[in-house]
């Protein structure tokens, strides 16, 4: 028996050395993670939507750190586990380099929105030509239709040497035409304002050619206005989300959120609701709209940031507004913190699988009350009930993400079909190095399975 011992031991060693228990810890859709994307330079998030085939599209901007580089639009398609599938960079100056109608020269392009449509996407962006003498000072609008691979099918610009235009949103209407909203200092003929500053801008155009069905501006005298979003109601009216520097219906000063409904696009008549916030008796808050969602019940939920104009105790908090399609206010909540010096802002909102509201945005100079760790700006994760309230049940759902030193900001948030939450954020590594970040958390805002 002894003679068999050596080969037996050898086989045993080889067998044992080849054995390892391999747990099933592979990446799965339910896994949480953080991903970074970008080039050497600055990369920032603007918007995030679901693609037509169930992936995630992150819209942003990138600017190389190379000398004389300009800012370009970037579209990233990633799968639900963060793998980068496609990347498309759009440079307006390149798109119009050989166009005899335009000569923009070097442009800085800033993406604003991307919307999924049948067979492709709509993209809108602002751009500024660096050579003001040729093209005029200020922002211009670039919008285009993209195919599934983000190649430009058709493109247009809204440009004039004497005026500026800024885009807020773009949709494809039921009739197949394009509606663009934003702001401009050009007053349209039907605008009754007597002393307009920047007015809210609304135009309907053909996608096949640049036929302008109508363009209109509206707003208030002596103050700036801007339209940040548009959606088509079931009764064919248009809802326009925006902001104005006019005092709200309740008398709140500063910038206030607006919800306008256009019932007759041929006339200048519209219903315009203005909503503002106050905090501890201070009504002079700037209520800047971050983003909005249009619900299945045709309500609109608006998220933004209320910032006080007080020099003594400047505070800022996220706010939530829910408005019915007729303009009725369902609720408005200022998500104020009792922690002194902890300021924050809301930039996007999503409805969770549990019908709660989850917002992302920024915690300014966040200090963790438990660890004592101090941060610069952090990505905000805040979950409320469906009425925008943070009750005791929702306190554990508040969370923050980001670098210790950088100024990080959550720009867009979505609820995935599996109930997990994804956030697109701009991460600041300092020294003009920012990256696009894609975070997938559970519905409690934890990076845990």
């Amino acid at each position: 028996m002894r003679k068999y011992l050596d080969p037996f031991l050898l086989m045993l060693i080889l067998t044992v050395s080849g054995c390892v228990v391999e747990p099933d810890y592979g990446p799965r859709p339910m896994d949480t993670f953080i991903k970074y994307y970008g080039i050497s330079g600055s990369n920032e998030v603007v918007d995030m939507i679901m693609s037509n085939d169930g992936n995630i599209i992150i819209l942003g901007n990138e600017e190389s750190s190379a000398f004389a580089a300009s800012k370009n639009i970037v579209i990233l398609e990633v799968d639900t586990i963060g793998n980068l599938l496609k990347k498309k960079t759009i440079d307006v100056q390149t798109e119009y380099m050989d166009d005899s109608l335009y000569s923009f020269g070097i442009t800085d392009d800033e993406a604003v929105r991307i919307k999924a449509i049948d067979g492709g996407y709509l993209l809108c962006a602002n751009f500024t030509a660096k050579d003001d003498d040729v093209n005029g000072l200020g922002s211009k609008i670039f919008w285009c239709e993209l195919d599934e691979n983000y190649e430009i099918i058709r493109k247009q610009v809204i440009s004039d040497v004497d005026y500026y235009w800024e885009v807020g949103d773009i949709i494809k209407a039921e009739d197949g035409n394009i509606i663009i909203v934003g702001g401009t200092n050009r007053k349209e003929d039907q605008d009754p304002a007597e002393r307009p500053e920047k007015q809210r801008y609304l135009t309907k155009r053909s996608i096949e050619n640049d036929t302008i069905f109508w363009s209109k501006t509206f707003g208030y005298d002596d103050v700036d206005d801007f339209a940040i979003g548009i959606f088509e109601l079931s009764d064919s009216n248009l809802g326009v989300i925006g902001w104005t520097e006019k005092s709200s219906n309740q008398g709140d000063a500063g910038v206030n959120a607006t919800f306008a409904i256009f019932t007759d696009i041929g006339s200048s008549s519209s219903i315009d609701y203005v909503f503002g916030f106050e905090f501890e008796g201070d009504a002079d808050f700037d209520d800047e709209v971050g983003d909005f969602i249009y619900t299945q019940t045709e309500d609109v939920i608006i998220v933004g940031t209320s910032t006080s104009n007080s020099d003594v105790n400047p505070r800022s908090f996220p706010f939530l507004l829910r408005i019915r399609k007729g303009g009725t206010l369902v609720f408005k909540e200022l998500l104020a913190s009792s922690v002194s010096d902890l300021n924050s802002g809301g930039m996007d909102v999503t409805i969770s699988a549990q019908n709660d509201l989850i917002i992302t945005g920024v915690f300014n100079n966040y200090e963790d009350s438990i660890t004592g760790q101090a941060y610069n700006d952090q990505i905000l994760f805040m979950r409320t009930d469906q009425f925008g309230k943070i009750t005791n049940d929702y306190q554990p759902y508040q969370n923050h993400f980001g670098l210790t030193d950088g100024d990080d900001a959550g720009k867009a948030i979505l609820t995935l079909p599996d109930g997990s939450i994804v956030i697109a954020a701009t991460m600041d590594f300092g020294n003009s190095r920012t990256l696009i970040s894609y975070l997938k958390t559970n519905n409690k805002g934890r990076l845990k399975r």
């Binding site: 060693i13 044992v16 991903k35 994307y37 590594f429 190095r433």
Partner: protein, 397 residues
Amino acid sequence: MGIFRKSLVLGVFVLCSTFFASAQTWTQKLLVAERDYDAGRLVSIVDNIIGGFDKALGEKGYTREEKIRALKLITKVYIFLDDEPKSDEYMIKLLKADKEHKLDAKVDPAELYDLYRKFRSQPIFRIGFRVGVNKSYPNIINTFGTGNTGMVSKIYNGAGEPPQEASVNGGAGTGFFINATVDRYLDWGLEVGLGLEFRNSQYSVDNFITYGDSIQVNGVNEAAQFAVLSTMVTHQQSFFRIPLLLRYNFKYDPGKETFKKIEDNVKDRFIPYIAIGASYDYLLDAKYLKGNRIGGTEYKFNADLSLKELDLIAHTNWSVFASLGLKMRVRTHFLTFEAKFNKALLNYINPDNRWSNNPLSTYDLAFVEDDFSLDMLSFSLGYTYSIYNPQKLKQFR
């Protein structure tokens, strides 16, 4: 000659005999006794030489070698006097005085061999001490990363090609360990051992966030990955381990049946061996020893962060190992040289907290741990001390 004269002569003889006898050293007495044994005069041998064991004699008593000879002689005497209790007693004394005493077939009688085999002459156990160096070999189970993991992999312990515009900064991943084992000989050259070990190890990871672009190679554009952000972390971990091993010694079998084996196999100066085993590993601590980032501003790293307290690392693990070694006999003890490969069976990382409980690395370093088993190649130098307790084997009592 009268009776008086006879008495006088006898008295002088006795006095002289006593004088010369008392003047003999214990060395001489032992030689005389050995001659008496050879001549078959067994009766007074024990009485003549037993006094040499008296410790009070100091240097005047037996030397170590003489003591062994004397004990062996007394044992043989009692064998042939058929005094079994006494022969057993002195066999034990002999084995205590000379561990693993070797019999000599040329001079030692078969009866002594027969008695010898009835006693436990080998160590009841051996205690081994080893110190050594190790090098980690993280064995990736699943890849996770904050970058484009499908395009660019992390680089462990400095071995790999970085993407464009990046370099590799990680170290080799070396550490050290110290252990002690208690070994017990079984049979057929097999030993079983149980030990305690403190192991300090490291691994380094270079991590890259990249973007795809093209690079000209010989005038042709080729796709390449360019680094946007490069980070490097050196991860240090300390384990308390309890290894259980089975060792097979080549050319070593003290045996218990044959004389040949006793003579031939026990005296080998060099004994090669192989061993296999398993270990329970308990994490004492883990931390990032170094961490830096290239890209953005300088990153200030907190090296005091305990990854164990953050529950980022699995607190316990199991591993198997195989080793190849050489024992060099130093009297009845050994110097050992050993190479060992240790393969962890379970994930080193706690996957539940991979993303959530590492506030510094996940964000500031854009780094997240893979799932991997932390395998280890080690080399050690050791000393094995043999512990004896000679006794008559149970079956012969």
